[in-house]
């Protein structure tokens, strides 16, 4: 609005164009590289305009005999597990924070926020020895357990602020009818906060989908690798053709990108809710 009045739309359009090119370039380059024959890549011959006749080559990575499809499947399992576990715990916790006063509430809220500050690199050392003792290393559900610890607090903040907007009258009447809290949560709250629940689901899913540090440290067996570790293993390795590597990167990025773009406002709200309001 500052611009609408004082800068001409022309200047702003020009600046926007520059920003769009800057922001879009690496993604464009990822696509372009995936569409370029390997020979051209290494002879300093990469075209600026992609060869769109090679579009379908990108998806060949899915049907080739590389283990990529299996890694994607593992990522989906880890991400799905993280989502289910996080939402189950977060729904209950958010309900308590939104609807009850109790001793220790402030401390617990602070505790949820504090987890956002902990460096994974510090926790990973003791977690590694814990997981070794518990036999969780090399297991996909081990990743689900550890990812949930980092994804769930964000879901708690997001769901709590959604539940805060639900009027009290709704549950009062249900309470008179003799419904217990758990039934009220299930039957009345979940449908009302469905959009926020969907946002929380997307956030936690892609926490699990994108996660790399724990996956690369805890999983040694290549069959149990997830897509992030599989893709990262191509770094500094020269046997896999580069166009194939970038095809994998695109296939890995597409679901994350689509959901992030659809949910961007909700995600920002979720990430900042804890610190702005708490």
């Amino acid at each position: 609005m500052i611009g609408r009045r004082n800068l001409s739309i022309g200047v702003r359009s020009l600046l926007a164009l520059v920003l769009v090119i800057l922001a879009g370039f690496p993604v464009f380059w990822m696509i372009n590289t995936a569409m370029t024959p390997v020979g051209d890549l290494y002879s300093n011959n990469q075209r600026i305009i992609p060869d769109f006749s090679r579009t379908l080559n990108i998806f060949q990575v899915l049907v080739s005999d590389s283990p990529f499809l299996r890694w994607l499947g593992n990522s989906a399992l880890v991400a799905g597990g993280t989502t289910l576990l996080s939402l189950l715990l977060a729904c209950l916790a958010a309900y308590a924070l939104s609807r009850y006063k109790f001793v220790g509430k402030g401390l617990m809220t602070f505790g949820f926020f504090a987890t956002q500050m902990l460096p994974e690199a510090l926790l990973i050392v003791p977690l590694y020895s814990m997981f070794m003792t518990l036999g969780l290393l090399n297991e996909l559900y081990g990743l689900v357990l550890v990812n949930t610890a980092f994804a769930m607090p964000v879901a708690v903040f997001l769901l709590k602020s959604a539940m805060d907007t639900v009027p009290y009258e709704i549950e009062e009447s249900a309470r008179v009818d003799g419904c217990n809290a758990l039934t009220i949560l299930q039957v009345m709250f979940i449908p009302l906060i469905a959009p926020s629940l969907a946002a929380a689901a997307v956030i936690t899913f892609f926490d699990g989908w994108n996660e790399y540090l724990f996956a690369t440290t805890f999983i040694h067996d290549t069959a149990n690798w997830v897509a992030s570790t599989g893709l990262a293993s191509f770094i500094g390795e020269f046997t896999t053709p580069l166009d194939m590597v970038f095809s994998g990167a695109i296939v890995f990025t597409i679901p994350a990108a689509i959901f992030f773009l659809l949910m961007q406002r909700k995600i920002v709200a979720g990430l900042t809710a804890g610190s702005v309001k708490g």
């Binding site: 009045r5 987890t115 994974e120 050392v125 003791p126 009290y168 992030s228 990167a249």
Partner: protein
Amino acid sequence: MVSVMPQARPARTKKRVRSAPYIFIGLAVLYLLFFTAFPLLTGVNLSFTNSKLLNPSAGSYVGFDNYTALITSGAFMKSVYTTLIYTVATVIGCLVLGTASALVINGFLPGRAIARTIMVLPWAVPTVALALVFRWIYNDTNGIAGDVTQGLGLGQVGWLIDPNYGMLAVVIATVWKLAPFVMLIVLAALQSVPEELYEATRVDGADAFTTFKQIVLPQIAPTMRVVALLMTIWSFRRFEIIWLLTGGGPVDATTTIVINVYRQAFNNGNLGLAAAAGVLGLLLSLIVTVVYFFVEQRATKANGIES
């Protein structure tokens, strides 16, 4: 200890501790205690031992030896310095670029929806994919960044192999990914600036810069401070993007505290020393958070606004 529903009527208030909220929140709290608080305490405990990765339980207590070793070692102090440089550069870069982008895209613009989507896109790309493409862009023989620097007459820059450029390369990639996040938040804040304020300055005939400084900036300043804190804390603990781009190199140029911790633990196997470095890193982000809340309180008082 009265626990009541926030808006419950007096008749419904019961003088007993309700178990329901504790059961509901208890699961999540126990979960976090087990997977974050307990490892955190174990980590602090480890930092006073000489434990090794191969046999973590065989270490013995060495008091503050690890901490003394770290503080007197040039390598650790350099990683603190590197962390600060990385943090300041990325936070400033993201705030400036993100705010500028938000100002440009706010209000009517032809093709605004498409422009906005493309500008947010970097934030949606998973870090591993981002690292792969930036490594290729920075590639010292075939990368397009080299073509650009050669075109500008700067010659071939070894972005990821020259210690003078490693940090810049990592900062650029980080800013590219995170400035869109700042843009989204600032954009939301801009949309809550009351229209009357613009009207007033328009009557006064103020130019764009004056309007920004006197009207827009004070309105979005609280948001910017929160974003700055979040970005700072995240920068202190950021691992993946640095690890995947440079692994802490070239020649330690991008070895931040967390990279140091990870190398110490999983490359050198010194769990005790790694844990001590991690604890010092955590203390650093605690200090920043405390300073933030102090500054925030003073700013709130100065403005006479109740937080």
